[in-house]
Each structure stands twice: as structure tokens, then as C-alpha cells.
């Protein structure tokens, strides 16, 4: 049965230790993984010792003392306090060591270095999203090799739990509070070599949700991509930072509508929610609470996004938060194009613009 199980780990086994580790674990890919595996192996050694001892005694006694013709039970003491205290105290001492090693490893796990790169994580049924210091959001977690990354996590609905097996890192994501964890990757995931046998962590480390959260709990997963260098990481940040990489403006606008909270108050099917619907609104005349009328055009939409209280649509409460500083010009442009598309108005492609500026990942969100 055991050899069969080794199929789970497709690593080449060069030595007994490698074979053993690949039987039980994914390759250690973070700074804490080695410690976790060491404690695991220590406990395993203790377990194997006691298991062999107990089952061995069981089998020996069974062989020697099984009832058979001519065999009688012999007299033996019914208790032996010294023996019993011995086999109480020795395990107690051993468990103390297990506790101690686990405790030390745990402290390391819970104490991120001060210079850690902070990534905000939001769990929501049933997807993860990761926000980098420059404000860019992605559904994959990218991090530079060898640099500590601190995850500050929150949930929009129920409890989730972020688990990266290769890093031996796990932390529940609880609604109504921020939970934190961190890791420093020591390896990049193996490239996807297209073979038929699925390797763990191929093409990016697996990231799972391990706290049951409903229908698609098992599909609430993401990939962790470790960039080989800081430069690669910056390139990645720049790539996701530029909305134009998301496709045509209308597509980007639709994504923003869903991702940035518009969907909660604005419908696209004509029904009124907390705010006016977007369907067919472009180009119409809107009546304001002041009684004035205003044409719904690029300028009005732009103003409403950046300064929602300036011209409030009649029949709606002034509850919209400002998106000043949260949406880039290109993103506002994309949203406008999306609203235009909902009214059947012709949409435009990205306007000409110079290359996006290089962004420092540790800089605070700008624009």
C-alpha cells in the first residue's frame, strides 16, 4: 500500500530522506516549511516508536499466551506502581518536547518581519482577491522570491481560511475582523511541463480555502506565483496596474462594475436599487433633487463618480461614496464606455496615451 501512495509525490527520490519527505509533503517552499516538517518528523519518530512498541507487545503476547491445550494463565502482578509511573512520566516528558518545538515554530509563523510587503486579501464566496500596495487587484497572488509577504485578510460574507500547502501556512479569514499571516517563499513553483501526470503546485503554488463556505467551497482556490526577482514582480504589478491590459474598455468597465461595488447600488437591467439604473441612462435627461435637469453624459458621470454629492439624482438618497483617488482615469473611461454600451450608444477604444509609469510596490496607493 505504501509504495502505491508514493505516486502522490512525483519527485525523483534520491535518498531515503527525500523519499520519506516526498511521501508526506509537498516540497518545502517557504522559510517556515522546514521547521514544520522537522516537528512533523520528530512527532512521527515518537509515534512510530510507541506504535511499534505497543503493537509489537500485543503481537508477542498474542503469540505466547494465546489459549491452547496445555496452556495456563500464569500468576503475575496485577499492578506495578513504579512501572506505571514510568510509562506515565516518560510520555509526559516527550510531549513536553513536542509542545516546545511546536510552540517555537508557531511563534515564528505568527511574527512577520518588519519589512514585509503587505498584500490585502479579501475572501468572498467563492473567490480570493489580492490587493497590492499600489492598489492593483488580482485574483492570483504574486510575490517576489525571498521577500517576506504579509497578508492582511478579511471576508465579505462567511468564514474562509487561506491555506498554501507548499508554504505550510494557514489562517482563517473571519468577517468583521482582519486576520494576518505571512510567508517568505524560498522557491518558485515548477513550470507546467504539460505532462499527463498532475504534479502538485505545477504552474503556481496551490492556495485553498479550508474553512467550509458553501456550494463552491472546493473551487475557492487560487494560484500563488513566485516571481524570480524583484524586477519580475514590478513588471507584474505594472501589468495589472494598467487597466488597459484587461481588454477593450467595455470589458474592463464591466469588470469594474462587478468588482468595485457599483453592482451593489446600480442595476443594469432597468430596476432601481439604491442608485439609478445604468441601463439606457446614457444620453437621457436626469432630474436632480434641486429640480434642475442635467444631461447624462461623460462629464456628468465622471463628476458623479468623483464627487457624488454635487448633483444628486432626484428620488435617491445621497449615499454614494466618492471614488476620488480610487479609480484611475482609464478606469473611469472604461466605466463610461460600459454605461454607454448599456444604452446602445457607440463605444470608443482606449485613447492614445504614453506608457504607464513604473510603480514602486511599496509606495502608497496613488492616483
Amino acid at each position: 500500500m505504501i509504495p502505491h501512495l508514493t505516486l502522490l509525490a512525483a519527485e525523483e527520490t534520491t535518498s531515503l530522506i527525500d523519499w520519506w519527505n516526498s511521501l508526506w509533503f509537498r516540497p518545502q517552499s517557504s522559510t517556515v516549511a522546514g521547521q514544520v516538517d522537522w516537528v512533523f518528523n520528530f512527532v512521527m519518530a515518537v509515534c512510530i516508536f510507541f506504535f511499534v512498541l505497543i503493537v509489537g507487545m500485543l503481537l508477542v503476547f498474542l503469540a505466547k499466551y494465546v489459549s491452547r491445550p496445555g496452556h495456563k494463565p500464569e500468576s503475575s502482578p496485577s499492578h506495578n506502581d513504579k512501572l506505571e509511573i514510568t510509562w506515565s512520566v516518560i510520555p509526559l516528558i516527550i510531549t513536553f518536547f513536542i509542545f516546545y518545538y511546536g510552540f517555537v515554530g508557531y511563534l515564528d509563523m505568527r511574527t512577520p518581519p518588519d519589512d514585509a510587503l503587505e498584500v490585502k486579501v479579501v475572501g468572498k464566496k467563492w473567490a480570493w482577491s489580492f490587493q497590492y500596495p499600489n492598489g492593483a487587484i488580482d485574483s492570483e497572488l504574486h510575490a517576489p522570491l525571498g521577500q517576506p509577504v504579509r497578508l492582511v485578510m478579511s471576508s465579505d460574507d462567511v468564514i474562509h481560511s487561506l491555506f498554501i500547502p507548499a508554504f505550510r501556512v494557514k489562517q482563517d479569514v473571519v468577517p468583521g475582523r482582519y486576520s494576518k499571516t505571512w510567508f517568505t517563499a524560498t522557491k518558485t513553483a515548477p513550470e507546467d511541463n504539460g505532462d499527463s501526470f498532475p504534479d502538485p503546485d505545477e504552474g503556481g503554488f496551490d492556495l485553498f480555502c479550508t474553512e467550509y463556505c458553501g456550494t463552491s467551497h472546493s473551487q475557492m482556490k487560487a494560484k500563488v506565483i513566485i516571481e524570480k526577482s524583484d524586477g519580475d514582480f514590478l513588471n507584474y504589478l505594472n501589468k495589472i496596474n494598467d487597466p488597459r491590459n484587461g481588454g477593450a474598455p467595455v470589458e474592463v468597465g464591466e469588470k469594474l462594475y462587478n468588482r468595485r461595488g457599483c453592482v451593489q447600488c446600480h442595476s443594469i437591467d432597468g430596476s432601481a436599487k439604491a442608485g439609478p439604473t445604468w441601463k439606457g441612462s446614457y444620453g437621457t435627461e436626469a432630474e436632480l433633487v434641486t429640480g434642475e435637469k442635467v444631461k447624462v453624459d461623460e462629464n456628468y458621470i465622471r463628476e458623479s463618480i468623483l464627487n457624488p454629492m454635487a448633483k444628486v439624482h432626484k428620488g435617491f438618497n445621497p449615499v454614494m461614496p466618492t471614488y476620488q483617488g480610487q479609480l484611475k482615469d482609464d478606469e473611469i473611461f472604461a466605466i463610461i464606455q460600459y454605461i454607454r454600451s448599456l444604452s446602445g450608444t457607440a463605444v470608443e477604444d482606449w485613447p492614445a496615451r504614453p506608457e504607464a509609469p513604473v510603480v514602486d510596490p511599496n509606495a502608497p496607493p496613488k492616483n
Binding site: K120, S129, I137, S154, D156, N258, R260
Partner: protein, 373 residues
Amino acid sequence: MSTATEHSHAPHAHDEHGHGHGEHLPFQAHHFADMQQQFEAGKLGIWLFLAQEVLFFAGLFCAYAVFRANHPEVFHNAHYHLNTLLGAFNTIVLLASSLAVAWGVRCAQLSNTKGIIYTHVFTLACASLFLGIKMVEYTHKWDEGIFWGAKYAYQAGAAPGHHFHAWLQPTMLVTLIAGGLLAVIGLAKGKAGKPVAGWTLGAIGVTVAAIGLGIIIGQGVNAATSPAAHGAPSEHAASEHSASSDHAAEEHAAADAVPTPDQASEPMVDRSGAATDSVPAEKTAGPDEAPAMPATPPINVTQANFFSIYYFMTGIHAVHIIAGIIALTWIVARAAANHFNSVYYGPVEYVGLYWHLVDLVWIYLFPLLYLIR
């Protein structure tokens, strides 16, 4: 019964005596060797049951402790809505009832059947008085929109949104009349030589009527502590419930004027806007759809949470009172049937112990909920 004096010094003695008489006394179950074993089994049983009850309430006290430790200001502000005088009155009522029950157990040990009945009927009256007063407290809070959790809709100075207290008057009349009627029928039955039916009906009558009495007292205390509120509860709703004295009223006014951090962060409309503060997100974003980024706000604990705890704790306590009323009535009926004497009085003691626990829980609830300073 005839040997009551001889046994009065200790229950132990007459149990042994009972054992000596022979195998089966009227209320000895077949599987017990003797009455003493039966009594001890019952007593251990009720103590274990009470231990279970303590842990049942312990969960609630833990919840209380956690919420109060994390948000002391919420609890401090919220408790001004509770009428300390009514709480104190109820505390006295329950203490009196506990005394009566203990006295009743003593009467049982002395084979004094009349004593058992009188003390237990008094206890029943206290229990109902308590419930009547609690009804007044609840309805006045509901009128102001002080509900629990999601239903909380209190706004300082707003007109009452409900008129639950309109039901108090009819309830009072119905309970007084029905209770009185039952008591009179009971009296008649008793005179007609049916003590069991008579005392049982009488006890139920007193119980029902005491609810009405509780309502009268509750409303009276309410009116006395806040004269303005009685005529026009809408005028300054807050003072009605805070003030057991002018001093407290002033304090509360101060608390209203200078909002604590909790109030400042969510001014006045404590929970009414629960639905709008978190516009419900579309429930199912597809698995490939990354969620909106601005992260969820931290937990927002408000007075609504205090009242969730208040209603749940006092509500569960009231359920225990009602269970106690049923048990006490059962004791009255059995006492009237002359079941209890110095040899067999276990049930009286067991119910008495239970009643002490119900009392004890209130002894903790009162300062924890009403006397937060």
C-alpha cells in the same frame, strides 16, 4: 405524621425509622432499597440538574462578559434604558419567594401540610408578580423600538413606533378577574371537601391574579419614576426608563449630550440602519469573479447587542420561572393531597432547590444588567 416531633431534629433520623417499618412505603419506588436511598438519589439528581442549569446560563454569562469586556461603553449607555427600581423590586420579590420556599421545605420536614401550601402559594404569587412587572418593562421598551439585534429601532426623542403597552390594561383586568374567579371557585371546592382540587385551583387563581397585580405595580413604579412619560411617553422617552432617581436622569442626560466613541461612530440611529450600512452584496459572485476590494468594516457593536443579551438572558430566566410555577403548583396539589410528611418530602425540597437557583440567576442578572456604572 404522628411522630413528627420525634423526627424533627434531622431528616436522617426518620428515614432510618421509615426503613425499619418494612418494605414499601406509599411513595417508594420498587427499585430503591429504602426511602433514604430514594431521597439521596433524588437530591443528588436535582443537584446535578442544577449544575447543568448553571452551565446552561454560564454560556450566556460568558457571552455577556465577552461583549461587555470588548465594549464597556455600549453597556454603560444601554443600561440607562433599564428601570433600576423595577429591577430592584423584582429582586426583593424573588428573595421573598426564596425565603418562603425554604420555609415550605422546613414545614414539610415537620409534616406541616398547611405550612407547605401557604408558603408555596405565596411563592407562586411572587413568581407571577415578577412576570407581571417584567411584562411592563418589556412592553415599554418595545414601544420605543428597543428590540434585539436586527430588530433594534430606537431613536432618542422619536415618537413611540408601537403601542404594546396598550395591551397591559386589558391583560391586567383579565388576569385579576380570572384569577379572582378561580380562587373563589377553589375556595368553594375546598369548602366542599375537595382539598386537592380546591387548593390547586386556588393556587392557579392566585398565580394568575398576581400577574395583574404585577402589572399594576410595574406601571405605578414607572409612572412614579417618570411622571412626564406616563401621560406622553413620546416626549422624552429616554428619561422614562433611565430614571430611578433624578440623579440618574441627569447622568443619562449627560450621556446623551456627550456621545461616547461608540455613539459618535454611529450617531443615534443605533441599528435601524443595519440594512443600509451594509448593502447586501449579491449573494453569488461566480467563482471566477474577484470580489470588490474595499474590505469589510470591523464589527460594529451597538446597544442592539446589549439588548440581544438582555432579552435572551431575561427571557430564558422567565422561561425558568414559568417552569417553576408549574412545579410549585404540582407541589401545592400534592401537599393538598397530604402526600408529604417528615418521611417523604423529597419533591418539596427538590422544587425548592430549583426555585433557589432561579432566584440566584436573577441575583446575578440584576446587577449585571441594571447596575452598570
